[in-house]
Assembly symmetry: C2
Homo-oligomer: 569 residues x 2
């Protein structure tokens, strides 16, 4: 980990990369202008906050991040989480949302930086893929639904409950603004057709396929321009009640200092943590995927520092929480970005937009921005993973479905926590009821296998039991009960050999339990023996009371040795 | 599980058991009278609530419980938890504590019954022994400190913070009531000496050793009688300001109906859950220990029902939450209790006490009850386990110490939750960084062992890597990083054989990760192979994309087979 990883790519910059970096930066900027404004609205902020969050944060990441192609800026899910955090604060007027958003960016930045410095990137491993997939799909649906009111021009209150949102939209269907609905739903259709057409054209290998691909990304910009012109021409904001973006202050944002003295920042800590986690996860997963395609490396702790710096930069320049976005990063990568210079180009273009072009957005209808969001998040709904996981492993499928439903029923923050809790609980549950197999000898070999799966030889006075899990507090009772049941069912048994080749550790609770079990078995005139105890486990057992209590039970190197000694071969 | 397990011991009752059952019941009653009043005061309730909780709940448990020798009633730790729950309620006057305690008993009873019916007894396995040990020790210290003010006769406010309690006692040391302190501390000394003397006498094998043992348990009763007479003779309550128990209503409690309409029962749900959990744990651990000594069996789900019934009975007869107590159960057992008839005797004697003897307790000083509690809980501080666990396993020692400190610093409820979280986190942390070993061949055998522990043969173009843990979401990144690091360090390697004999399952996240790893290794011109994949794991892998992507990598039955095929033997 280096303090300024940027020195590496700046000092070794190859002139040949300049054209593709510049092109990629331009294409991302074309996507980013409408998305940034749209996501700011999604977060409950004025549209310029999205643009401000797309300038200095990109520069900060280019200096401190480790991915060469990650496109940082406002993203849909983090914007939704910001909205949810701000709405969750009681007694906060909507006018203070922007100030609170700055605070969130600052706190999130500090959290990410601290985690990077403390090398806590590994914590992210505790969210399983199915949980992330379920979370993302549900968040995409929540986002889509939250935009529906803009798409069809009805005014219903924001709500964190999906059911409430759906009900209030259904109840106000008679107030639909037909012109807004035409604009909004029409744009959704337009964007979908545009994307599909250019993707098909780009798939035909010829000299202009690169241009076609670029044009494919410009759909939102085309929609924005034509819709703005259309609304302006007929003054539809007055004549048809179309909601428009309105006046956006021109010029770069001044230096903003988050107000930690007057605002209840303590109430945002939890949300800031979750925003940091989710943002980091989205970012690092796309950065990893892209880096491995070019055999580059992502250092998770350096990523934390890069994203932390980006968020601090957002906090001081009128932005709101940012992270590496999935779709824009892929576009940046496929458009040929070779170095973070591409992001600097994007930042410069957004800065120029803010300085010169904001008056042009006056007549931009909010319905168009809603359409841009809906089309962007539609690709996040991930049915493929759900199907695969369902086929492969039901526990993972429960995690996925549980997270999905929890996000829809309880909300974004509660949902991801519930998902993590479900997946960890299922893991604990699984390891608390370990697979056990009574084994027997295969022919005249030294191999012993499950009596239910193989043709094996056993003898009546010895049970050789293999337990396929480390022994720890959650599964000791289960082991104890199973073994006592075994000898209760078979009174002729005088020896149990516990085969420990899959036991990677025995914790203190399990040791207590084994000790008690030894006594209980002695009382029932059954001797307990161990076999195939691993080196590290054996080292720990030396000198414990259990080893003394086990006698005259023995510890055998192999199952074969045990069975020979017990006259069972 | 039967609805009324009592039918078993009632229908088969042997007359020969009657004398020992009666004697054991009497001895427990002698212990219980002072303890019940003391624990009620500890819980913040008038002393008679402890006595009421020692009548019908014992009968209910005798009918529905599965242990033959468990002595149910008020216990120290649950009483402390009741006090903590009631003090934690804001805006509740101390006059409503008894009504709230009834509610807690009802809720706790319902929770226990529901868990029993739903067969959720296994949930208790998720609290590890070190966590329980740290919790018990810390709770004993909290209880002891909470009684200090009574022992030395100063009046300081109750507080859930240990530090606050200590500070306020230190600050009021100049207000110590010398007579109270003499009585209180004197009684502690008296009880300790009494117990030790009679235990020694009982250890001498002769015809009266049984009587000596019984007398040993009567120390508290002796202290209560002599101190009461002493205070009454000199009217020390008036002349020396000694706090006394005062008037206790005579007669059996009427039927009480917990008031769920006017009291904020919702705020008690969390506390009721924890009280149920902790009470069940204390009860079931002593019941198990005693049952196994006589080769009887405890059915955890039946225990839940027995304790649930006892608590519901407490709620309707003016009691408060009860459970099986550790020390009284041991006394009951060693005094020879053979069946729950002993508990029925105890209950009858307590009923008689309530009807006829309460006026005798008028002059009983509270300092004596405090001394009874302090001496009873002193045995709960468990340094032995701490020492053993520290030697055996540092992770368990951290769980124990963390729980201990969390109870002292944060409180009873927060402490046990923190303990559970610590032990589960440490387990996840451990499994997220699995032990891995590169293995080599031992001589000319088919055995392959860790190259760092054994004299083995390897070859340069193949790495045989054994991973000693199931693969799941928390450890996939670690595995991936380790393997990529391995091939980065050894460019001559062309094959990696992943030995899976300790892999008991592969979850969906790990499967994704293996799939990605295969591709990454292919890109680096390294082939991944698997060996010794267990049957159940292999069944799951059939038909997954990973198996296709693995090719031309193979799955070998044994490591030896793999190494032979790869020309490495």
């Amino acid at each position: 980990m280096s303090i300024v990883p940027a020195s590496k790519w700046i000092l070794n910059y190859r002139k040949g990369d300049l054209p593709s970096d510049a092109l990629a930066g331009m294409i991302v900027a074309i996507m980013l202008v409408p998305q940034a404004m749209a996501y700011a609205l999604l977060a409950g902020l004025p549209p310029q906050y999205g643009l401000y969050a797309s300038i200095l944060p990109l520069v900060a990441y280019a200096i401190f991040g480790s991915s060469r192609t990650l496109a940082v800026g406002p993203v849909a899910i983090v914007s939704l989480m910001v909205a949810s955090a701000l709405q969750g604060m009681n007694g906060i007027a909507e006018e203070t949302y922007p100030a609170m958003a700055l605070l969130l960016a600052l706190m999130s930045g500090i959290i990410l930086l601290a985690m990077g410095v403390l090398r806590l990137g590994f914590l992210m491993n505790y969210l399983s893929h199915p949980v992330i997939s379920g979370f993302t799909s549900a968040a995409a649906i929540v986002i889509g639904l939250s935009q529906l009111r803009h798409l069809i021009g009805v005014s219903v209150p924001r709500s964190s409950s999906v059911i409430e949102t759906v009900l209030s939209i259904v109840n106000s269907l008679d107030e639909v603004n037909p012109v807004a609905a035409m604009l909004g739903l029409g744009t959704v259709g337009f964007l979908l057709i545009w994307r599909r057409s250019f993707t098909r054209l780009a798939a035909i290998p010829n000299s202009v396929s690169g241009i076609m691909e670029t044009l494919g990304k410009a759909g939102p910009l085309a929609a924005v321009i034509s819709a703005t012109l259309f609304v302006a021409a007929f003054e539809l904001n007055d004549t048809a009640g179309i909601e428009i973006v309105g006046a956006i202050p021109a010029g770069l944002p001044g230096v903003t200092v988050p107000d930690i003295t007057n605002l209840p920042w303590q109430d945002l800590i939890f949300a800031a943590f979750l925003i940091s986690f989710v943002g980091f996860l989205e970012s690092v997963s796309v950065a990893k995927a892209l880096a491995s395609k070019r055999r580059q490396k992502i250092e998770p702790n350096q990523e934390l520092i890069g994203l932390g710096a980006a968020n601090v930069a957002a906090a001081f320049t009128g932005g709101y929480p940012v992270t590496g976005g999935f779709s824009r990063s892929v576009v940046n990568f496929t458009a040929g970005a070779a170095t973070p210079l591409a992001s600097l180009v994007t930042a410069a273009l957004i800065a120029l937009t803010v300085v010169f072009l904001t008056p042009l957005f006056y007549y931009l209808p909010k319905a168009i921005l809603a359409a841009v969001i809906v089309v962007a998040v539609a690709t996040l709904v991930d049915l493929d993973t759900a199907r695969q996981v369902w086929r492969y492993n039901k526990a993972d499928a429960i995690s996925l479905a549980g997270t999905f439903l929890a996000v829809l029923a309880l909300g974004i923050e509660e949902g991801i926590l519930a998902g993590a809790a479900i997946s960890i609980s299922l893991y604990l549950w699984r390891t608390s009821r370990p697979h056990m197999a009574i084994v027997g000898r295969i022919g005249e070999t030294e191999h012993f296998r499950n009596i239910n799966r193989h043709e094996v030889k056993t003898c009546s006075h010895v049970i050789a039991l293999r337990v396929d899990e480390s022994l720890y507090f959650a599964n000791t009772s289960f082991l104890e009960e199973q073994m006592l049941q075994l000898i209760a069912d078979k009174p002729e048994v005088g020896h149990i050999v516990l085969i420990c080749n899959a036991v990677n550790f025995i914790d203190a609770s399990a040791l207590d339990s084994l000790d008690r079990l030894t006594t209980e078995l002695h009382d029932a005139r059954v001797l307990l023996h161990l076999a195939e105890v691993k080196g590290p486990v054996m080292d720990k057992l030396e000198g414990t009371r259990f080893l003394k209590d086990l006698k005259p039970g023995k510890i055998y190197l192999s199952t074969h040795e045990a069975m020979t000694d017990l006259n069972c071969v």
